[in-house]
Amino acid sequence: MKLHEFRLSNGLKVFHLHDPSATAACVQVWYRVGCAHEDPDKRGIAHLLEHMMFKGTERIAPEEHARRVQKLGGQSNAFTTEDVTVYVQTLPAKHWTTPLELEADRMCGLRFPEDHFTRERAVVVEEYNERILNQPITRTLQSVRRKLFNGHPYAVDPAGILEHVKAFTRADIIRFYRKYYHPGNAVVVLAGPMPEAAAEEKVRELFSPLLSGETQTPPIPAFPDSMPATIRSASPVKVNFYTRVYALPRKPEHYHRLQMLNLLLGDGENALLRRKVEDKRMGVLHAGSFHYSTQGGDLFFLYAAVLPFMGFARTLRDIHGIMEGDLPCTPSDLDEIKGRVRISLASQLTGTEKRANRLGETVVLRDSPDAFFTDDAAFANITLRDLEEAFSELKHAPATEIKLKARWFPGNR
């Protein structure tokens, strides 16, 4: 496999992972705009725009985009996160030019028919009902999130605020679209067997005529100092949940170090939280960690799910015991984690779409196109000292404790 990259004069960046053995082609457009870039009174508009992107242009009728891709045997999809909105098409390799034509057309040529807008807004409301209002756990997490980020753009998830969504007008969405959807704010990611020269020629032909917009998405502010020290809420089930969230500034060296730290601390059968917290007490159902990298910074979560009879105190003591000491990692531990990373990386990249996804992440979210090929070595080169530094930084980072308490157990403290 080889990576071919180039840039158009209107600012569009293109990354093509050439894989001659692939039978599929994947065409993605990553717009550098997500829900975190919404105005405070227009939360949910990025997601609604994602839906409207399938509602036609001058040349393509509403719904025709997805239908065309499907008729060619492919699948089209899209997702909105805090930082980006991504459109994905995967289809038999011989049809690789079709999604490029469709994407170029809708990048600047969307029509927003009023009747379709009204109905699609109703669809988004039903999506909100289905995924959030009907799911007590998701509602709880949404409420906790808002308290955690406390006014920061990440306080609201991509689904938005329902009252805002219901009130969106067609003019609102056109404004958002024109502001953020243009070649200068987008990255095209291609993966598949299409020859490099032909792919570049096609992209230039289709996207060069598009004018670059004026707005680049503003950087996401760092996590607020005002993140609360503690958040308490009711658990939607008869289980207590404890989470400690560390907020770290965004730094290039964080990605690999924090991923490794995550494996050491909480992800895997031998992880520390598993052995020293979960296995230690019968009342602890789960204990672990995860690392989430965003444009605003890195978030590191430690969590435990605890049966109500136990309360929180003992679990917290066990977690404190791990976090307040030195990094509990020997050279042998490090080698074992590296073994796990090797096999995990090797097995992840099955299929053209997964490769394109990974390339998009490294290019857009990590600003590091080479990482697609160099992550292996980067993980292999992590030293104990690197991990110790990361652990120390983590321990001293601002942290919020979140306690969700099951309501029904009388003795639950």
């Binding site: 039903e126 090797a346 779409e353």
Partner: protein, 430 residues
């Protein structure tokens, strides 16, 4: 990514099926061993046994503690996993090429010398029991469970759900027996891929499974669903109406199978090109999605359709679904719908060959449903041969009316207008 020449399926005299795929990408070996015992084989008073038992496999062995086993896997660069499916259970290992012998030896040890502590068992049981709290809050799950109970009847394996009562009843010794019996009865198939030849893959496997018993993996056919009761379930606090529909369709080995697939795809399975998606989401805006799925098991086929809709649109949605079903059955699909669906089926075929793991899973499934490798490889030709009259004739054999519809609503009054053919049912009554 994978060509036909790279794929080989061999059935030995015992009926054991070896599927090998030569592939240098990804640069690792993948092994999946299939045992012909899944969740549907759980005794009715021990629903959850397969899931609980299989989850305990790979925790430790007779010779290694949990920590030692995991360290051994990590050092070798191997990932172990297991999953209980409806009809089968799959135990898998992914490992790096340079440690293949050690990894295979570890795999054998995990299977033959499986062990787990009582506290592992107790904690896993607690987790399963806690999961029910989440499940029972999900109106989609509740609606599906009731639809199945009505359609298949309460004693059918597809209706029997694991419940807190059945999971609580499971004893540690039963999990031990389940693992031992499953391994002793023997696997029915293996999927192996790696950067070596077919023979090398098979040799690697046979070298490390000497003494294993192998079986052909046949399981009895499941009876068809024949129920016809519509149910209404009330769950306070939800903000939509949930719908789950079930109807019988022909199984995989029936001559009309492909024809009916095409028709059902047009009705409801085809995502944005399906009739129901067009009417309910695009034209009405009443729902985020329609999920139609043609399901096949041994000797059994059924079609499930589910959606959640704006409550005001619930009666209208049911009317549209029935109306489109009648139209499908009585008038069939149009010529242009037929061509579109057929082209989609044909054009999508290469995508299957792009992802190694998905391809392996698909080919194994085809084998257990009675398809030979040659039939899989000639799928496109068979779809090409389908004719429009054939599809419409197959659609005409569908039941006259949709036999089972289950709906879940926040209160009884929110279902006014859906007709009085629904039996009000307590959500716990399954």
């Amino acid at each position: 990514m994978v060509s036909r020449q790279q794929v080989e399926g061999v059935i030995d005299p015992s009926g054991f099926f070896s599927l090998t795929i030569e592939s240098e990408q990804p640069n690792c070996y993948q092994l999946g061993l299939v045992f012909p015992t899944g969740t549907l084989a759980d005794p009715s008073d021990r629903q959850g046994l397969a899931q609980l038992s299989l989850g305990l496999l790979g925790r430790r062995t007779v010779h290694k503690t949990r920590e030692e086993l995991q360290r051994a896997l990590d050092r070798q660069g191997a990932m172990f996993d297991c999953e209980a499916l409806d009809e089968y259970s799959v135990v898998s290992l992914i490992f790096l090429p340079d440690r293949k012998e050690d990894c295979m030896a570890l795999f054998r040890e995990i299977l033959e010398k499986a062990s787990f502590a009582r506290k592992d068992f107790s904690k896993d049981k607690k987790r399963l029991l806690t999961n029910f709290q989440v499940l029972y809050q999900d109106p989609e799950y509740i609606t599906e469970v009731h639809a199945r109970a009505s359609f298949f009847g309460p004693d059918h394996p597809l209706s029997r759900q694991s419940k807190p009562r059945t999971v609580r009843a499971i004893r540690k010794e039963e999990c031990t027996s389940w693992i031992q019996q499953t391994v002793t009865t023997g696997p029915a198939a293996v999927f192996l891929s790696g950067p070596v030849t077919h023979n090398s893959l098979r040799n690697l496997f046979t070298k490390h499974v000497k003494g294993f018993v192998f079986t052909d993996g046949s399981i009895p056919a499941f009876p068809a669903g024949t129920g016809s009761e519509n149910r209404m379930i009330v769950r306070k606090g939800i903000h939509q109406g949930y719908i789950h529909i079930l109807l019988p369709v022909v199984p995989r080995n029936h001559r009309d199978y492909l024809a009916l697939r095409l028709g059902m795809y047009t009705w409801a399975e085809g995502g944005f090109v399906s009739r129901l998606m067009s009417r309910l989401r695009v034209e009405l805006g009443s729902t985020y999605g329609i999920q139609g799925q043609y399901q096949t098991l041994h000797g059994l086929g059924y079609f499930s359709l589910k959606t959640s809709v704006n409550l005001e649109h619930l009666p209208g949605t049911l009317d549209i679904v029935r109306e489109e079903y009648d139209r499908l059955r009585n008038e069939g699909i149009t010529g242009s719908e037929f061509e579109d669906a057929k082209n989609t089926f044909i054009n999508a075929y290469p995508l299957l060959w792009d992802n190694l793991s998905e391809l392996g899973a698909y080919l194994l499934r085809q084998h257990f449903l009675g398809r030979t490798m040659e039939e899989v490889f000639t799928y496109v030709e068979r779809v090409q041969k389908l004719t429009h009259p054939e599809v419409n004739a197959a659609l005409h054999t569908l039941p006259e009316t949709i036999p089972v519809t289950a709906i879940t609503v926040p209160h009884e009054s929110s279902a006014s207008g859906v007709g009085n053919s629904f039996t009000l049912t307590d959500w716990k009554d399954f």
